[in-house]
Symmetry: C2
Subunit: 320 residues, 2 copies
């Protein structure tokens, strides 16, 4: 059920910055990274549909893709699944990686390892699928107004996904000029750099006071959640894909209950979305790979973390 | 836009017990009650489609039924709407009531005021529509397992609604024998009297460890919310219609986010549901009026509150 994959492209995720901040210093280091595409070098006997030499992409969680939960499209809760760089499973910022549940996890890509599409294809491992999850869970369609909180790679992918699902009005809340410019390229109709009460007032103004049908929260801090509560329209949805850095928050009559707000989201089952999202990437109708604005070798990975932490890089591509 | 309605039937709601506990004693009293059906005695000039002598039912929130929010089915957030027994609008535990937004609010009933269906028709004002809201917001269907937390009138209506929407497995969490017996009549497949950790374990056992797709929370206390989090299945929905008596609660990675739980619900826009629910009541395919187990006159209303507070009555009907 295993495979060994030689990693062709990997990258650094905004969520990697949390352990980057928290981990104690060590000489040996620990495995990191959960996004990769690569070439199958070796395969267990029970794996069918894949062969040595295939270029494949892996979701940020491995899964069997056959259990009840996977069949409900919830691969991140697969009882036989798990996460990279955890337990005895390695990280993706590496030369190679052992893949458990290879058949359920790896998806063959119909391009060569010299393809110019590799950066966009790599986003299927996490950020594009995660942005899509935010928009899909919020039932975004042509009739919904959308706001995206956060101009990191996931926020920009949520924006691109909302537009792809038909949203005509998408407000991007972010304050980094280079990122919001890319957001406008991805289809943002408005950019709101203000935060907190000022940002809430601005977004409410932009919607004639009514607020937003679908708020896609791609940050994870409690103030971002509070902004979401502040801008959401009665009957609307707050869809979270930023990993919450808090446990308790307001959900009572004065926040969610009174105006019938729905709160949804979680770790995206990106495996469930690859079949839907891959064709657009191959055809070039979307270019999610534009979130990568720096490319480094394996030895320079620490520089990559530093650049993302200092916001001098949006998302760093790794070429092992 | 107003009407004067002579009240034929009213009742006491579980949510009336909160002010019953909290209000300071007074000689004069205050208007209470938000569920009624009655006969139109007088009508403003701008009201069409209704006439004097019509028997009508009113939702627990009045609304214009024409604004953006009403057209989205969210009458409880109507900017021209409001609640009974608030501001200058009277309560429904009374001989008569002035109805603002009469045209958007009152729904004509095709029966006489001597009909045996009056108790069931009165549940369209709140508890039946509220139970339906819980089930509908949780997307209950034939493939969803359902648990209802709370065996009060709203919980029993959520149960009846889940069955009506096709659910084949509905677990009722409640510990009052007379209520859970009625729950079994309404279609509960299992009754779990245990609470807290014991109740959670019991429900998980009943679902082979996986938990519940749609948890309908009809209590409003924080321990009920925590039970909901404990029994919900990964990817499932917690739908709240019990008015939360708390503001903050866990919603982070360890509760809602990690397993992709959706939290929804709020004050039910029962006006939006009357058209759908009325035919079954008229045909007798559902008998929601069975939640009334005591009937009193206006002078005995204080006894009714006492009986509901002491759980010797499930729901008290008022005949002014």
């Amino acid at each position: 059920m295993h495979a060994i994959v030689r990693i062709v492209r990997s990258c650094i995720c905004g969520s990697d910055l949390h352990p980057y901040h928290d981990l104690p210093a060590s000489q040996q280091g620990i495995p990191m990274g959960h996004e990769f595409l690569g070439v199958i070098e070796d395969l267990g006997t029970e794996v069918s549909g894949l062969k040595r030499g295939d270029l494949v992409v892996a979701p940020f969680a491995y899964a069997d893709n056959t259990c009840d939960l996977c069949r409900e499209g919830l691969h991140t809760s697969c009882p036989n699944g798990g996460f990279w760089a955890a337990g005895d499973v390695g990280g993706a910022q590496a030369e190679a990686i052992r893949v458990p549940q290879a058949q359920g996890t790896l998806v063959k890509l119909p391009v060569g390892e010299d393809s110019e599409l590799l950066p966009s294809l790599l986003t299927l491992a996490d950020v594009y699928g995660t942005g899509h999850h935010a928009a899909k869970q919020a039932h975004v369609n042509a009739r919904t107004t959308v706001a995206v909180i956060g101009d990191g790679a996931v926020g920009l992918m949520a924006l691109l996904s909302a537009r792809r699902l038909g949203a005509e009005r998408v407000i991007l809340m972010g304050r980094h000029d280079d990122r919001t410019k890319l957001g406008i390229d991805f289809g943002a109709t408005d950019v709101v750099p203000e935060r907190g009460a000022e940002g809430i007032e601005k977004v409410r103004e932009l919607t004639g006071g009514q607020g937003i049908h679908a708020v896609l929260e791609a940050v994870g801090y409690r103030d971002a959640y509070e902004t979401a509560v502040g801008i959401v329209r009665a009957g609307g949805v707050i869809s979270r894909v930023g990993v919450p850095q808090y446990e308790e928050a307001p959900i009572g009559f004065g926040s969610l209950f009174g105006p019938n707000i729905t709160l949804t989201g979680g770790p995206a089952p990106v495996r469930a979305y690859i079949d839907e999202l891959l064709p657009g990437v191959l055809e070039g109708t979307v270019e999610p790979g534009r979130v990568f604005d720096q490319a480094l070798g394996l030895e320079q990975v620490p520089d990559g973390y530093r650049a993302m932490d200092e916001r001098t890089a949006l998302k760093v591509l790794i070429r092992p």
